[in-house]
């Protein structure tokens, strides 16, 4: 238990460092799509909600889990959709007509 916790803290710390380094190198041009993308990725919380809703450990857990799946799934679908829509619009200046 103690080791698990410590490992999780290490994981959190390392992910934080990776996050800082990677995000810092992202051009300000794309900060809006970046935010909608991280939002969609963050909705991976849906996996916790799925297990909660599916295991039926209590009625409360199933109800809350189900609502949580709806909320997170809308973020997954909407987040990826709008990020891709935005990125599609970014075009380099091609040869002038």
């Amino acid at each position: 238990m103690k080791m698990d916790l410590l490992t999780s803290l290490y994981v959190f710390m390392l992910a934080g460092f990776i996050g800082f380094e990677v995000i810092r190198s992202i051009t300000p041009l794309l900060h809006t799509p970046l935010m909608s993308l991280t939002n969609a990725l963050d909705a991976i919380a849906v996996v916790g909600a799925i297990i909660l809703a599916g295991e039926h450990r209590s009625t409360l857990a199933t109800v809350l889990g189900t609502i949580a799946i709806v909320a997170a799934t809308s973020n997954v679908v909407g987040g990826f959709l709008i990020t891709d829509r935005m990125l599609k619009m970014f075009k380099a200046s091609g040869p002038k007509k």
Binding site: V22, P28, H31, I82
Partner: protein
């Protein structure tokens, strides 16, 4: 419950691959050339992780499937909103993410109570406090951006004290529960207070501060998801939450720097403090104004033009007219670039999206640090709907409330043109000395129609 041998390992491997794809997804967001590949990577990672999770033994699929379908039905229209509505959509999705995290945290607590280990209780508290305040805070932010709620900041004396007191009580309750988790009846209080705090936190915030607030809420949403990862012992969730938290954090630091606010200011959410009352109305110095015809003549004869768009341009829906201007000038061999201040728009990078939507190539969109060296060589700086970010007082006048704020050095261009409805000051209520410079021409009118008339002059009048 039957379990196939190896299923658990298989699920863990899908999570591992998903984690790698999530990180790659952000790495590929670095430039517009690879960014769409980043979205693909994220989508594949997400599909793998959800697919793997569904293989968990003993799951009843009925409600899961209904919820997945319902979430998709809600998600599709949210992915199709207009580009000007992206900030409120983003705020809304922070609210949904936080809702998911808070609900899962609540359910986990009642499944485990009253025997919750201390560390578990601590991260659970963090999960529901951050989740709760992000949920209502983001709903408020979305409401303000959509203009369902007044955009004007609502402030009262002692506001910061009241807000911090609410937060302190929530943390106090959390600490007490960590000390003795058997007080199950206190748990609802620990959810209710952050919900109220989230509302109070956003009340004093005005439209101009929204980029910082959205970034900060993004960071909170990520951190609450990471806390949920600790509760469920899910490395995938810890990593995704940490990445999101880091991203929101960096963006809020960027925004606070661009708005000349200190970092602690951002951390404690003390936005939109009392506005400094503008100096007593003095006699306004004279300004020079010009017509569309005169403006078109100057622009058409220029070699290098830098356009400075602000949120006012988006409000006037003028970006497509601006694209026509860009085309007309390009045709005459004028070099046109766009100078984007970090806080132009209602969220980080928003202005770039609006201009990209109007088909302006992204290599013409330069951020503040790239473009500021170009102004002295520019023949014309054309300011459309931007105000405070062009105010030279931020550089030179130590008594100005925006002193020290990084600005676009438009006053260094040979000629400055400002399209503006009238002489009213900007968000911060500060007069802009730029307008009284001898080299400045004020173009009074609605941005969309004024740019339209300039374009007509350029294409109809002088050509051929």
């Amino acid at each position: 419950m039957t379990n196939w041998p190896g299923t658990e390992t298989f699920i863990e491997i899908t999570y591992l691959i998903a984690t790698a794809l999530f990180i790659l997804s952000l790495v590929w967001m670095r430039t517009p050339v690879t960014a769409r590949r980043g979205v693909r990577a994220g989508e594949i990672g997400m599909a793998l992780a959800i697919g793997g999770t569904l293989l968990h033994h003993g799951l009843d699929y009925k409600w899961i499937m209904i919820a997945l379908v319902l979430g998709t039905v809600i998600g599709i229209p949210l992915g199709r909103v207009h580009m000007t509505a992206v900030p409120q959509r983003t705020a809304l999705s922070h609210a949904f993410g936080a809702l998911c995290v808070t609900l899962v945290g609540t359910a986990e607590f009642y499944l485990r109570a009253p025997n919750v280990p201390r560390f578990m209780m601590a991260v659970l508290s963090m999960e529901v406090i951050l989740g709760g305040l992000t949920f209502t805070g983001s709903l408020m932010a979305a409401g303000k951006l959509q203009e369902y709620l007044p955009q004007r900041p609502i402030t009262y004396k002692g506001q910061n004290f009241v807000n911090l007191a609410f937060l302190a009580v929530a943390i106090g309750v959390a600490a007490y529960l960590v000390h003795d988790p058997s007080h199950v009846h206190l748990f609802p209080l620990m959810i209710a207070i952050p919900l109220v705090f989230g509302v109070l936190m956003i009340i004093p915030i005005g439209g101009a501060d929204m980029p910082t607030v959205i970034s900060l809420l993004n960071s909170y949403a990520g951190l609450s998801a990471a806390a949920m990862g600790f509760v469920l012992d899910s490395k995938l969730l810890i990593i995704a939450g940490a990445l999101d938290g880091a991203s929101g954090f960096i963006l809020s630091v960027n925004m606070s720097k661009a708005m000349n606010r200190s970092f602690t200011n951002v951390l404690f959410g003390a936005f939109g403090q009392e506005q400094v009352a503008g100096a007593a109305a003095q006699e306004a110095p004279p300004v020079r104004s010009a017509t569309a015809e005169e403006a078109a003549a100057i622009l058409g004869a220029a070699n290098k033009v830098i356009v400075v768009p602000g949120y006012g341009m988006a409000v006037a829906q003028a970006q497509h007219k601006v694209r026509e201007l860009y085309d007309a000038l390009n045709k005459r061999g004028v070099d046109v670039k766009f100078a984007i201040h970090p806080v132009a728009g209602r969220m980080p990078g928003h202005m770039n999206v609006l201009l990209a939507e109007a088909d302006i190539p992204y290599d013409k969109l330069l951020d503040m640090d790239e473009v500021n060296g170009d102004f002295p060589q520019a023949d014309v700086a054309l300011v459309i709907g931007a105000n405070d970010v062009t105010n030279p007082a931020a550089r030179s006048d130590a008594s100005s409330p925006i002193y020290g704020m990084p600005i676009l050095d438009v006053d260094k261009a040979r000629t400055v043109m400002v399209i503006k409805r009238g002489m009213s000051p900007g968000f911060a209520g500060i007069d802009n000395p730029l307008y009284y410079l001898p080299k400045t021409l004020m173009l009074f009118g609605d941005a969309k129609s004024f740019v339209g008339s300039i374009v007509r002059e350029l294409t109809g009048g002088g050509h051929g």
